[in-house]
Amino acid sequence: MIEHYLFLSVILFCLGILGVISRRNVFIVFMAIELMLNAANLGFVALARLHVSMDGHVLAMLVMAVAAAEAALALAVVILLHKHKGKLDTNIFSLLRG
């Protein structure tokens, strides 16, 4: 039964990778990254049950805290970019391409 959760975790992680690679909107890309982190959290919690230890739960909580800090910074960057360009498409940011 627990294995199913682990498979789901890996599938969610791969969906996150796909999202980062294929989407062009900055918001969606950051959401995909959050999906990857939360896939890892699901894995931690499922494994904690499998190993019958509390470690996994604690690790999941810590990852959540870090993910929140990262999201805060990401949103600040999104606002900054929107102020400069008025759009959130990653294709229009090309000053540094080279």
């Binding site: 896939a39 494994l47 910074l73 900054l80 400069h84």
Partner: protein, 470 residues
Amino acid sequence: MQDLMAILPLVATGAGAILLMLAAAFESFRKEGISIMGIGLFAFAFFVQLAVANSGSFAPYSGVLNGMLATSTFTKVAGLIILACGFFSAIAAQAYFTQNKGFVLEFYCLMLFAACGMLLLTMAAELITLFIALEIMSLAIYALVGYDRKSVRRSEAVLKYLMLGAFAGAFYIMGTVFIYAGAKSTSFRVITDVIATTGFLSNPPLVGGAFLILFAFLFKAAAFPFHAWVVDVYDGAPLPVTGFMATAVKTAVFAVLANFLMISSDLQAAWVDYLFYIAVFTMFAGNLIAIAQNNLKRMLAASGIVHSGYLIIALVAIQAKTFTGGAMLFYLAAYALATLGIFAALSYLAGEEERRVSFDDFKGLARVRPYSAACISIFLLSMAGIPPTAGFMGKFYIIASAFQAGHVSLAILGIVSSILSMWYYLRLIVLMYFREPEDRFEVAEMTLAPLGTIILAICVFAISFYPVVL
């Protein structure tokens, strides 16, 4: 008590950052005061680290705080390099902000927080502690890259860095899940025991986890398939921040990479062949990019990729049983001195709004400012690996360690790449000395940054006499 001693430098930087943040709230502390305080705090943390490193009262690789952290001579010296990088970057920043706008009082706090994360990173002996340290460092660095909110270039650089950095971070955390699945723990010590009893390659979750974690680290270290972001991000960041990123972040990442590979010799042996090719491709890809650049900052970023390649040679050559990390640390110190020196010189020579950044802008510098030109030449020669500079000794130790470990072809490729790299280092020296000046190189009066540059130039020679045990 011993645990407290071991984390004292961490406490010093962390508390210093908070203190500085509080001080920034007062009207009476303005730009100059905060700059001096920031530089002073880095110097203070450096001496604390030095005192801790010299106390030598605890055994190598002793666990601290119930095995969450581990200290050894390797981590202590890496910490010293990081804090020295912070000190000289802070000096460069002080010069930079006398000519550029966009200063925020929190700049030095962010630098100290980043240094705190890096120190924690070098000592981490548990995967989640390591993740948190990585994020403390990265979040502070993201903010430093993009803190000048008016500039579109900075915003683009921070977007690129943040997106790719968070992506790599997610891989890291997934790798931790796999290792937790395979070893039932995230502590390095337990993972070592598990590998010793079950073997590494016969435990698929561990292999997958180690792969994902190495992926994330190699991204942070700017190794071959993941090197493309470096040039853009380093170019987009303000000069002193670029110097800080290129040196301190690299030291922290390579220290943690070595610690991770040292979990077990089986683990290292499984990846040596891949690291071999990554080292070769990183060196040559970096050289190709660097040769094509006309912008000094971009050239230094690309040469940073090449130096990552040499450091990966050191990783290939380390042996778990007799690991001291001497060759790696010496190379990191030599590279940090030269890079910080160039960035300290650029921070006052570049002028307002980073006006002078391309190769042609430095034509004839030697006629107008002979001392600055001489210092820059010393740093460039050290990076190119010309004796008797520290860069030469660093390359010598790394290539000798590759020979010792039996990787003769890798050693030879390292030498070839080092010869290739002369092209773009010597180009700037030729421009500085054998062309007529077109610019008067007028810069604002300042004392700290030129002094720091000269000190760094002396250190380039001084540390090459330091004996290293391979």
